[in-house]
Symmetry: C2
Subunit: 182 residues, 2 copies
DNA sequence: TTGATATATATCAAAATGGCATATGTTTGT
DNA sequence: ACAAACATATGCCATTTTGATATATATCAA
């Protein structure tokens, strides 16, 4: 799946500016689907408008700079449905935290403490985003997705908090030579 | 974190060729850390060798093309440790499956069935990779990481299998206009 | 009144991907 | 026996994407 699909998907749930699309796709409800950045959002929106898949209307605002609000067209919706009906790519999951954790033996205890506490904080934050999403929307399919997220993230949070101490005890355990020399 | 760190990290656990690094980072134990492709592995290995952080030795093999086996140097190990001791970036998780699921109402039942069954299969496969990883290595920090993975992935698998039917019933529920027209 | 934060769009160098080319061996199906 | 498919192994490069920056304005707090 590509950037085009995500943009059509976001616009399918409601009108938005390029700026709002960026926010949705990095912070909000749509941040679990595809990666996206300004450098790809604005050119893609222009192309989609030229192809008639979205409509853009300029709105001048008192004070703030003009914004261009995009909405999906019927042809855009058709195109989006066509794109949805393909076999999805396998999920991508990348974690620096796990690399650091796997190398806990050669890290300082402070590094490991910071890393696990950041991870616990991040997980709590994601859980909160998902719970907000769930309360703000009674769309059944969205409920299914948010319940999935809550289920998985709570499992992660449980493991992290219950095994924090065990991990901390592993920190630096493979640096015996170094610490002896110092 | 960057490609350089991942390569040093992989070589820190054992020597490897560029080809093997790619395999590790997309299929194996190291596939949960950073994204990587041939187009970045080979140039990075050359640069790391020029900087003295890795050693490359050519090995001619009967039949197969020559391979260049890289190993990490002491300076490379130092550099790797330095890179590990920074605050990690937040985990990245991207899922086309969730986008399709959230749009189940405008997808065909076949699309949704394929998507959920693929997701269940993918999750089982990842679980298997993690379990193999756990059995093949008694390094304590690796055990901590694999237990985390198993914990989280089993939670995901439970939700997916227990809520498969509920999701299937949502498929196509927002296409009433279309189906009436056909 | 200065600095930080938020809204809003846009550009562009640098990084990275993903597909292709090359070469050869092994396995599998017919 | 033969072809096709797959695995090992390195490398290139057009296109895509990022990530940082520029521009402009408003608000709010210190």
């Amino acid at each position: 799946m590509n950037i085009q699909s995500l943009i059509l998907g976001i616009l399918n749930f409601g009108d938005a500016t390029g700026y709002e699309i960026k926010k949705h796709s990095t912070e909000g409800a749509f941040s679990f689907f595809v990666d996206i950045s300004y450098g790809s959002i604005y050119p893609t929106l222009s192309r989609l408008e030229a192809e008639g898949l979205v409509d853009g209307r300029s709105e001048s605002q008192s004070g703030k700079p003009d914004k261009k609000v995009y909405s999906i067209t019927d042809r855009g919706r058709e195109e989006f449905v066509r794109m949805l009906n393909v076999v999805p790519q396998t999920d991508k999951f990348k974690s620096e935290f796990l690399l650091i954790t796997m190398c806990a033996g050669i890290c300082t205890p402070e590094t490991i403490r910071e890393a696990i506490d950041k991870q616990i904080g991040d997980t709590r934050q994601v859980l909160q985003i998902i719970k907000d999403m769930q309360q703000g929307c009674d769309h059944p399919a969205t409920q299914w997705v948010t319940n999935y997220g809550i289920h998985v993230k709570e499992a992660a949070l449980n493991y992290l908090t219950e095994n924090r101490e065990t991990l901390l005890q592993l920190a630096g355990s493979e640096m015996n030579l170094k610490s002896a020399a110092e």
